[in-house]
Amino acid sequence: MKKLIKHLISKDILLFLRNNLNLRPLGYSYLKKNIISISDFFFWNTQNKFDTKINITNLASQVLPKIHQDCNVIFIFFDSNGNIIFKNEINLKYFQSYSFLVSKYCPNNFGSVAIFHSFKNYKELKDHGSFVTEKGYVGYNYDNGPWSYVHGNNSSLSFSADMKIFPLLSSTLLKTNSYIPQVRFDDCNESSLIFNNPLDKDLRTTVNLYDKNWVKLDHIHEITKPKNTKILHLGDSKKSYVEIKSNMILFRPMVLKKYQTYFDIFHG
């Protein structure tokens, strides 16, 4: 009977029901056919003396080191409004790595970038039901200071052999997903959350700010359109905790804190 029901109901409908009824929810959607590569959705910022450095390496060599093969890498840069503003494609030799400054191609702007790898011999990955996923590292600096590196945290987008991009993270109809970054916010006056939306639908969020006794100080409602990026300033209230309620199950924004002489940035 169970098998019959499973045949009658598609995987996507089952996932929708699981996630919206909170019955063993899944953070990721089922992969589409012909997927060859996965990427995080990396924040970049080149405005107001900030810069971003992207470091990548031949992922084929990293996961299949016995096979000497080139890796083709595609970068797709979105601006903060979700428009594709720059695309680039490079070839990396066996174990070759590559880094570049985003300001060279996308100056005075901010947004998010997806990075997809593809290579000829991926049979062993396929046999184990696996895919390569780009997890960074991405460095941020201000006024030529040291790079503050952040690794990727959420595999967010998938890329198919016919060059299509699909969202990988799953969502719910209502803002029933709560996330509290495990960091205290009371050590600096200026802090922000960086939202980017890899989904094909609006990311709807409510950010609740609390003091150290969990007394609610303020709340901020925000809608982030698909592929858009927002730097959400949290104001100057004496907040200790931040709770984000959203319609994305595994939504985890980056945290940006400003101190007297420099900044701190990390994944929440």
Partner: protein, 259 residues
């Protein structure tokens, strides 16, 4: 249960933000309880420990290393937990708590009067008794600034055992060998090595012991800083048998003959 640690640095301070609640309650089945944190270190023979103030459920605590007892100042200090007062577990045995996705983390920070840098980290108690190795591929060495490599190791045996981390370029040429100890916050000033780091990335590896590799950079006036860890090799893989590919990568770097 996770274990946390302080990142000692000669001209700055360190702290950890500890939370007694998960980041995402939807993916955590633990029933929240009050916890008793313990700061502890190894004197080479046994664990020396100090009970800290209770953290009630749904509360958090910022613990600064400078606020710990004076005898911990020059020691590599870790923090674990118990559910009862005066019940430090000398075997560091894992409590069935802090099971969540995403991981139940601490904000681990280096700070001074000017600025602060941190990362969301933990030392999983599940690896304390395992024979783990290290392969850390890092693009984070910045020779224009002061760059430090931290190798955090903790085992369930309080003895401090010597081991070595080799630093290599991608052509398997060994650049340096760093002497580390278990149960220690090992720190190395990479600028003091007789080598100019110019490649895009380097490999830090050890076949005897592993842990958490961290790369810390700061300007000489300590007004600008950054820190991050490298992720384990299986993070390059999405879904399926991820550990198979981690083994392939580790075998490649650990078995290869070093020039």
């Amino acid at each position: 249960m996770n274990i946390y640690f302080f990142l000692d640095h000669y001209d700055s301070s360190s702290s950890i933000d500890i939370f007694n609640f998960p980041p995402n309650s939807k993916f955590c089945k633990d029933v929240l309880k009050d916890i008793y944190p313990y700061a502890f270190y190894s004197n080479g023979e046994e664990w020396i420990y100090f009970e800290l103030d209770k953290i009630k459920k749904n509360e958090s605590r910022i613990i600064k290393k400078n606020d710990l007892p004076k005898e911990t100042r020059n020691e590599s200090v870790f923090v674990s937990f118990s559910f009862k007062t005066n019940e430090f577990n000398k075997s560091l045995e894992n409590q069935n708590y802090m099971n969540s996705s995403p991981q139940w983390r601490s904000n681990t920070k280096i700070f001074n009067n000017y600025t602060s840098t941190s990362y969301q980290g933990e030392y999983p108690a599940s690896i304390l008794s395992k024979n783990i190795s290290l392969v850390s591929c890092s693009p984070m060495i910045q020779s224009d600034f002061e760059t430090y490599f931290y190798m955090i190791n903790l085992t369930d045996n309080p003895k401090k055992i010597k081991f070595y981390v080799s630093v290599m370029n991608t052509e398997f040429k060994k650049i340096a060998q760093l002497q580390c100890f278990t149960n220690t916050i090992n720190i190395f000033d990479l600028n003091k090595l007789d080598y100019k780091f110019t490649d895009n990335f380097y490999v830090f590896k050890s076949d005897k012991f592993g842990g958490v590799p961290l790369y810390f950079t700061k300007s000489p006036d300590k007004k600008r800083m950054g820190i991050e860890h490298t992720h384990p090799p299986l993070e390059y893989i999405f879904s399926g048998d991820r550990s198979h590919f981690q083994k392939l990568k580790k075998k490649h770097w650990l078995d290869e003959k070093i020039n």
